[in-house]
């Protein structure tokens, strides 16, 4: 790829480094799978219909910071810390005010 100036490349590298601010550290793709496996069984059937775009990134952060307080805490306890981080990454990265909000119909 021909780039016109080193400046552009530098700006791009800087932007990519800073991009992490908009995205969480867990594996959002794995999180999507885990969310469907572990959360979707209730949310969308017997519990509220939730998707990443149900909340803002800040709201997801709050929810996950105090997950012991959520209604379905029993089910949450069965989810490992690593899996929880991935589920958080999915919900956070596709939140309604995220750069790529999850599509709904």
């Amino acid at each position: 790829m021909k780039r016109s100036s080193i400046g552009v490349i530098a700006a791009l590298i800087l932007a990519l480094a800073a991009a992490s601010l908009a995205y969480a550290e867990g594996n959002a793709r794995k999180g999507k799978f885990l969310y469907r496996q572990k959360c979707r069984t209730c949310h969308g059937t017997t519990a509220s219909d939730l998707s990443p775009s149900s909340k803002t990134q800040a709201d997801w952060k709050k929810t996950f910071a105090k997950w012991e307080g959520v209604k379905c805490v029993k089910e949450w306890k069965a989810v490992s810390e690593a899996d929880r981080a991935d589920i958080f990454a999915y919900l956070h990265d596709y939140a309604k005010d995220s750069p790529t909000p999850a599509k709904c119909n």
Partner: protein
Amino acid sequence: MSDSDTSQISRRDFMRLAGAAATTVAASAMTAVAAPEAKAAPAATAPNWESKFSVCDMCFNRCGLIARVEKGVITKLDPNPKFTKSRGMLCARGNAGVAQVYDPDRLKTPMLRVGKRGEGKWKSISWDEALELAASKMKDIAAKHTRCGMLFSAGADMQSGFVNRFAEVFGSFNVTSHESLCLLSGNRAFVDTFGDVPLPDVRNSKYVILAGANRLEALVTPDSMDLVTIMKEGAKVVVLDPRYTKSAALASEWHAIRPGTDMAFMLALAHVIITEKLYDAKYIDERVSGLDKLAAHVAELTPAWAEEQTGIPAADIARIARELAAAAPASMVYPGRRTSDYENSTQIRRSFAIVNALLGNYDRPGGLVPARPAGLKKVPAEPPWYDDNPPGRVDAGSVPLLFDEEGSFVLTRDAVIKGAPYPIKGWFVYKTNPMATAPERQKTREMIDKLDFMMVVDITMSDTAWMADLVLPAPSAMERTDPVQALQSGAEGACLVWRDAVIPPLYESRPVFDILKALAGKLGLGEFFDFDIPAYRLKQLAAFPEAAEILKRDGVFYPPNPPLGGTDGQPFKTPSQKIELYCSRYEGMGLDPLPVYAPPKASPDAARKFRLVAGRSACVTQGSSTNNPLLSEFEPENTLWLNDEAAKELGVKQGDVVLVESPVGKGELKALVTPKIRKDTVYMLSGFGSISGGLSHTKGVGASIVELMETRFDSICGNSAIHETFLSVKKKGAA
């Protein structure tokens, strides 16, 4: 080059006179036929055809239609008057849909490549053999290169969602659509400003700026028809375009803007609106963030400054800003559709979004309105997880703000060529044609040469199919049962459509859904395609038990449409929960939080002095329609629009064949010598200069625009940037 006031008035007067003359003729015709009505009217007889609803497939608009079927043959397509999105219209391309169904160039059986890639030697094989081969190749690629080693690309089609579903359950993250060769820069800009991608409510607008959008030729329903209607009612439409397009010809005024300077124009509009306080201060205070920063940013960006950049007189820019603001909130900078122009196209479109924000037109009649609720239910799948897959898409991280579901075709292509960050060795393509739509066709060939297996499902042997190992014949839209699709129509809201087959599938064609279902079965993924389309549609329509009957009766269903203004008082879906003039997300990512203007780069080579711009005619949907037997009568070949003065300097006369050359490719086509284009710009249609032996009307006819375009991309979202190429032009045979 802008029209003077005098010429605008005279043109408009002429149009008015022409309209009056047409009305007179119509009125006298009515008088002439009035007399026989006094006698007994003859009994109406039933027509000798069946009428069947369907949805047009000649472009992405999906206009409702009624097919006349006589003795099992479609003889005509008419607009569906109940389908209000198209205002009861079916365009020239829609009418030519019959020729698509009965095109002699259609694929008839599965075809296996037997010669070298692209050589055009094929063998007709059975479906069993074809599906077995495809499944085994996919298995091999997954085993050797992980499931992400398969790339899936689907065009805008009512069954394309099944390709994405298949990719997900198969386990590949690598999916591209046509959108990263088209509209993503605009989407990026509006998501980052408004938190969503609003739609223009042209019908109720009093003042529309069309910057680069040629909406009276590149038809978008209902916007194209509504522009004509509102102009009749006195609305003003201002066109900025280096070409005197048909939109320019019919508009209230046209300015031949210097290509690549739209941002300067928009920032100067913002300058006038802010310095003259032409905005609604209460609205801005409540709903918008970053006005102070924008005000400082545009303080020096006066109309006089913008005149130097754009070539549009400062007085006109200031006047347009005032007129636009006076008509607000029923006024807009039209967001446009294809926004794949420059490397900074996201920022250019941010400047469009910013002016709209200053007009306070969000969710207001005549402004930009949020997509209306369609109520369509998703039919979820729970795809398996494959632990050996790489962490993300092959183009992940190549630009700061990729849309994960779309990716970037040009960056994916680069990754396939490099084999990094990991190899992609298989490609499934459905009804999209990157060999005719992606810049630098040679690179697309290079990408294909890296593949172990490539399969294409399409109606005809497109240039992309021509390069494949396996080509499978799809039925035309008129031969298919399709799922429900929601379409948006400005303030009028969403409508739902589906397709039932008008005639049975021709030849041995099979819909892509059947192909994917069969492949899923062979790959142990059958449970994810354990349904048929009628059952799928019922799930989609779960919220509307009455919809299926209404769709059968009317060919369209309208879900309840809440009135505009429903978002008032609600937070915007941005980090600040307001419309962001100053983009906080960009600030956090080291990108310019306000659009910073830089003059378009000059040609690096004095011999290549013409900037190539792309666009459409009303009879062309790129490569998917140029080979249509009826449409090719209107557009039999493409020509190079060349300014008459420039032509004179080059010694080129009307109709001469010219040689055009860019750093990446060459072409030959006839010159259209015309004053209707700037001296520094050339234009040609896409979809010509095809390589496929299966395209009898376009193979080797005219020049291929993608052979000439250099690979450039939007540095924020990875959309292609197709106005960044300069061409040299000379008469064929000249020294």
